[in-house]
Amino acid sequence: MAHALLFFWYSGRDPFMTVRLATLFALVASVAASPAAADARSDAKALVDFGISVAQKGLWREAIYRWEKAVETDPTYAAAYNDLAIAYEHEGQLVKARKAYEKALELEPNNSQIQQNFDLFKEINDRSSTGKDK
């Protein structure tokens, strides 16, 4: 707020100063914001790591809890959505699994591992509707 006030106070006086201050203001704002994003990602990463370790022990419900927290903490973390989708799939929550895979691919459309997981999921999921007459 103080930065903004300073910016507007100075901007009326000198045009060169306006440009300099605008640049400085943008820089300060971006530097101030990036630690928050980095914190969210590192918190989410810790949750994802813990989820992986419990999933490997067969504790899928606990893994779901952690990965749900991870995507809440950092909604841009594609790997967390991918892992959550796998856990939902294992628990038979196929609608939720599809949504999580789609979100993961929306965030990282070129991730071949997520795409492969999703393709395998679709192959199984589509079985329930094949060959139906009625």
Partner: protein, 292 residues
């Protein structure tokens, strides 16, 4: 001359230190993905909680004379249901549905009444049973040719009316204390095609090097098509609950002499999981990749 050696040593040391640091970092970070086995539970397509027993009655079967597709299908499905479903499988004589359909047709053609013998009007059936397609008694009464030998899918079509005969299936249901009835059609026909196939050939070039080259060759291949239709009938009402069609084919080299029965089982192996998933929940094993 003497000054060059220490420089070399120090650069090697620096390289070694860098490699050690990279290795330590890689170990500390660990892998970025993990393969994990999963089992996906698939819910049954059909709610069969109202039934304790299942009768695999028989099939209208045709095609190859090498196997009795009716008998083999009934035996295979009964054994699969015994081990992979909660339902108790009824051991009954396998019904010859072709003969039954022909009897029904003869009876219907020989009578003046609009409805065939033992077929009450649909309105007298249970109120909650959905009207089955083709269940119109007048339609059933029309004498239509039933081919005694089934060679293709067209020959099977006139037999479809048998599954819509609600009164007949209700009677069968009463006989076996209202089970879930599994019936349908099975077509197992020989099949052959001649067409291009891509084959890898090992060739040696002018310099004596081996190379693999893909070439298109025309070959004749023989095999079979298996096209079953499974019809699930509620033994309490005689009404069709659900039906599904499958089609699988297999081709071999023309020189290969594969027995029809082994081809039949190979094709049924592909279809049976889908059949079972209609009646009972299945767990499908697979592998996925967890990401960090």
């Amino acid at each position: 001359m003497t000054g060059a050696a220490p420089v070399k040593t120090s650069s090697r040391l620096a390289l070694a230190a860098f490699a050690a640091l990279a290795a330590t970092l890689a170990l500390a970070c660990g892998p970025e993905f993990f393969e994990i086995p999963i089992e996906t539970p698939i819910q049954p397509k059909l709610d069969v909680s109202a039934f304790q027993r299942v009768l695999v009655a028989g099939f209208v079967a045709g095609g190859s004379d090498d196997i009795d597709a009716n008998q083999e299908t009934v035996r295979l499905l009964r054994s699969q249901l015994r081990t992979k479903s909660q339902l108790k499988v009824i051991d009954a004589d396998i019904m010859s549905l072709i003969a039954i359909a022909q009897d029904q047709r003869k009876t219907a053609a020989g009578e003046d009444a609009p409805a065939p013998t033992g077929t009450p009007p649909a309105s007298t059936g249970h109120g909650n049973s959905p009207p089955a397609a083709g269940a119109d008694p007048r339609a059933q009464a029309q004498p239509m040719g039933l081919p005694p030998q089934i060679r293709d899918e067209k020959d099977l079509e006139p037999y479809e009316r048998l599954f819509a005969n609600v009164a007949y299936w209700k009677k069968i249901g009463e006989e076996y204390q209202n089970p879930l009835i599994v019936t349908g059609t099975v077509l197992f026909i020989p099949h052959s095609i001649t067409g291009p196939v891509v084959r890898d050939q090992d060739v040696m070039d002018q310099l004596g090097r081996h190379r693999v080259v893909s070439t298109r060759v025309y070959v004749e291949r023989k095999g079979f098509i298996l096209a079953p239709k499974f019809v699930f009938i509620d033994g309490r009402t005689g009404a069709t609950m659900y039906s599904e069609r499958h089609r699988e084919e297999i081709l071999y080299n023309a020189q290969q002499n594969t027995p029809a029965l082994s081809s039949y089982f190979e094709l049924m192996d592909r279809i049976v999981p889908d059949f079972l998933s209609t009646l009972s929940s299945q767990k499908i094993k697979g592998t996925r990749v967890l990401l960090k």
